[in-house]
Amino acid sequence: MIDYTIKLLEENDVEGIVRLAKSTEKQVRFYNEKIEIIKEWNELIMHIFMAKGKKTISMEVDSPDKRKIKCAVERGIKLLPKMADVEFYGIEERNNFIDDKVFDESVIENDVMLSIAEDAINAGGEAGTVYSSIEEMEIANTNGSMNRDKNSMIYLSVRAFHYGSSGHEVSCSRSASKINALVAENAKEMAKKGVKARKGKEGKYDVILSPLAFANLLSNLAFFSSAFYVDSGYSFLAGKTGKKVASSELSIYDSGIERDGMFSRKFDDEGISTQETPVIENGILKSYLHNSTTAHRHGVRTTGNAGIVAPQPWNTVVGRGDKSMEELMEIGRDIIYITNVWYTRFQNYMTGDFSTVARDAVFHIKNGEWKAIKQIRISDNMERMLKNIEGVAKDAKQIFWWEVENPVFAPHVLIRDVNITTA
């Protein structure tokens, strides 16, 4: 089918990229300690990008057959002359494909997923989800290149409650065998520790963010590093390449080749090989994420992160820290330990002013004494916080769930003087 589509484009003297993705996704959901629903999605989708000079259009064809493909291509050809010119300079070529990522077809087996969910419930999880997918992809373009890829992913997201307090954990991988349902025990332990919480007090604190909480902020940062968002007024990283945007303790990479990274892919949506791209190295902003078009605009090479329109992050990886959680506790003075956050919203994307709500157990730790607190949020500035990172732990784990929509390998971090507000 993909050959047929390329042939149609060539016959009409149109440049193009055709991507065909066949996927099966599964989910087991549970709440009140019982499995309630199992879901399955099966899709075959063809994405067709067509370009003629400076005019381009993207089409999507569901469950494609020759009739639907012909219809879509003819429609595209009819619409192209009606387009205004777009910024399009052709597709770069780079073929150093690396593909040693894990693939595990068993992630979508009912029994495997049910067993993970039931183990999580038995370990103290009250509500959660086991989600998995496998995907086979083919891509071809009118320059004659063609490639194939296949991917798998699975994650457990589980929440535990105890007398109004809660804890949350995830376990994420490309392989079912690496999912640890017993993380639910940690969630339950946090929920127990968090009971009898008192309303927190506003002020500046040294904040320790758990991997779950830090990943939430970094998943936002990952999008801010996309050149598309930089150029669209959606990023405080605009104009700061080569400048200090974070503490020298912090290095962040985008990786499409991480062996167990849930979003690792052999090639991007332009068919270009993915890679590991340094975004922030020792606090200095090194690179935005690019596709061929944004790279041309910025005078650099693509980083293999297409999105045809907007470059997209693959897996965000925090450079390995050198501290233990105990050492972070020792460095901090008046500490608030936030185990999870949600609802991160920006007042101004260009300045990075934002707030995010602490969710699940939160603790005020002073002189080694832990007190559970509640009803707090971080109301601060993203760049200021990144610059105030004083300790990065060596306990990074892969985080992906409902609130973290692109995988982040995140550790615990200690951040100085974070502004905490309350309702």
Binding site: R29, Y31, K34, I35, E36, I37, I38, K39, E40, W41, N42, E43, L44, T56, I57, M59, E60, D62, S63, R75, G76, L79, K82, M83, A84, V86, E87, N110, L114, E126, A127, G128, T129, Y131, S157, F161, F228, D231, S232, G233, V309, W342, T344, F346, Q347, N348, Y349, M350, T351, S355, T356, V357, R359, Q375, R377, S379, W402, T421, T422, A423
Partner: protein, 453 residues
């Protein structure tokens, strides 16, 4: 068109309950960034959704192949999944199952007409960084279930949003969304040009002079803000699936529980409604995705908790009736959702509200907001906001923020304005995420003695 397939699939089902929804969605979108056309996308999706219930366990299967054999294969998979475990507690409430078809009309514009209009809009902000996104969709549904419902609908929707960045000594940003059920004929009612020009001028003025307000004062929140509040701190916690814990690991639970029905919760001037049947509204529908007829719902009536939002599963679990809040987007199961949620008008004029304030704020629009996962602790930061002193608006307020608990908010309201305004939004909930079109609606609300930061 697909009635035969629906009936065939339902006949084949061998479980306690089965439903099938065939859905066709056409979506066209256009993106302009800083005067340059960045992308035009045209997507046509078609797929079917089967949900079955057996011994209290649900199975859901989706495929984007509409072949008869794919449907039967998916039905068998859904049945197998529902038989994988037994869940004694789950059931569906008894409801009158409807058989109906309805269509919303809307003019479809040609691509070049859309691009020309967007170019004109874009040129109004050419001195500033800007991002403009337009989309129109046609959503066609064919639904049937084994309890006798058959609903066929066709609803076009049209929407756009922008984000403008004004840079001088500081950087300020403002964004707005527009949207309706309908077509190109809705565009003039959005007054995009007027709004965009107002937003740019306001940001320029704000750069020159804006005053910080810190401390206790009275506050008037405009409809743009109160609409969001109606949605976030009343609509969401009133969703019965949150209350029973079904969303506990994702969108969260609710600070409200079943025993609070009938309790006095808010000031008497507060009436919060969710009504899917408002013609032309972004969240419009006449029958929900379980075949139940939609109706206007009073979530809070004269300050009293009146009813929650239910689908048939939550209604069964709470021993009540569904009020047709089951909604699904393409590829997803139906879950409890809002439609058009708003504060009903009161009897105050805006100038009357202002006159009675000695020291306070008028917050007209916001950028940043958030709320905790039980919907108890919320924050709104003003973008367009003004200082009120001695009964008069006296200047621009620099990003005033309120952080307040939900019960405190609803108790502190002492006046509701007369003019109701609606704003479109896309509400996120469900797992996997289901972004669904809704409307947030509000009137001016005045709160007394609030901490403003």
């Amino acid at each position: 068109m697909y009635e035969d397939i629906l009936e065939y699939a339902i006949d084949k089902a061998n479980v306690d309950y089965a439903e099938i929804r065939i859905q066709k969605v056409e979506e066209n979108s256009i993106l302009f960034v800083n005067g340059s056309l960045k992308g035009v996308e045209s997507i046509k999706k078609e797929g079917f959704h089967i949900r079955v219930l057996n011994d209290g366990m649900l199975g859901f299967s989706f495929s984007n192949s509409l072949r008869k054999e794919s449907i039967i294969e998916a039905l068998e998979k859904a049945e197998k999944m529902a038989r994988a475990r037994i869940h004694h507690a789950i059931g569906l409430s008894d409801e009158k199952m409807e058989r109906a078809r309805y269509y919303v009309r809307g003019r479809r514009a040609e691509l070049d007409e859309k691009i020309e209009w967007l170019k004109d809009i874009d040129s109004m902000a050419k001195e500033h960084s800007r991002n403009i996104f337009y989309s129109d969709t046609m959503d066609e549904r064919y639904y049937a279930n084994s309890h006798g419902a058959m609903i066929i609908s066709k609803i076009p929707r049209i929407a756009m949003n922008y984000l403008i960045t004004v840079e001088d000594e500081r950087i300020e940003q403002m964004g707005r969304e527009f949207g309706n059920a309908g077509g190109w004929e809705k565009i003039p009612s959005w007054k995009v040009e007027e709004n965009m020009s107002h937003d740019i001028e306001f940001m320029k003025k704000m750069m020159k002079k804006a005053e910080k307000f810190r401390g206790k004062g009275d506050i008037i929140l405009g409809p743009y803000v109160t609409g969001l509040i109606a949605h976030e701190s009343c609509g969401h916690p009133w969703e019965a699936d949150r209350i029973i814990g079904r969303e506990a690991a994702q969108a969260g639970k609710s600070f409200v529980n079943e025993s609070m029905l009938g309790e006095k919760f808010a000031s008497e001037v507060i009436n919060v409604v969710d009504d899917p049947t408002i013609k032309g509204s972004y969240g419009f529908y006449l029958y929900d995705d379980e075949g139940v007829k939609a109706e206007k719902r009073y979530l809070i009536k004269n300050g009293i908790i009146n009813e929650f939002l239910h689908n048939r599963e939550t209604a069964f679990l709470m021993n009540t009736k569904s009020n047709a809040a089951a909604r699904a987007v393409y590829g997803r199961e139906p879950i409890v959702r809002m439609a058009n949620t708003y504060f009903e008008p009161g009897d105050y004029r805006f100038d009357e509200m202002v006159e009675e304030i000695k020291n306070g704020i008028y917050m007209k629009t916001y950028m940043e907001w958030n709320i905790d996962d039980t919907r108890y602790n919320q924050k709104y930061v003003g973008q367009e906001a003004y200082i009120i002193r001695n009964g008069e608006i006296s200047g621009i307020a620099f990003h005033p923020a309120i952080e307040i608990t939900t019960p405190a908010f609803y108790k502190k309201v002492d006046a509701a304005g007369r003019t109701l305004e609606f704003y479109p939004a896309v509400c996120g909930k469900g797992d996997p995420m289901q972004g669904i079109p809704v409307t947030t609606g509000g009137v001016d609300l005045r709160l007394r003695d609030v901490m403003i930061k």
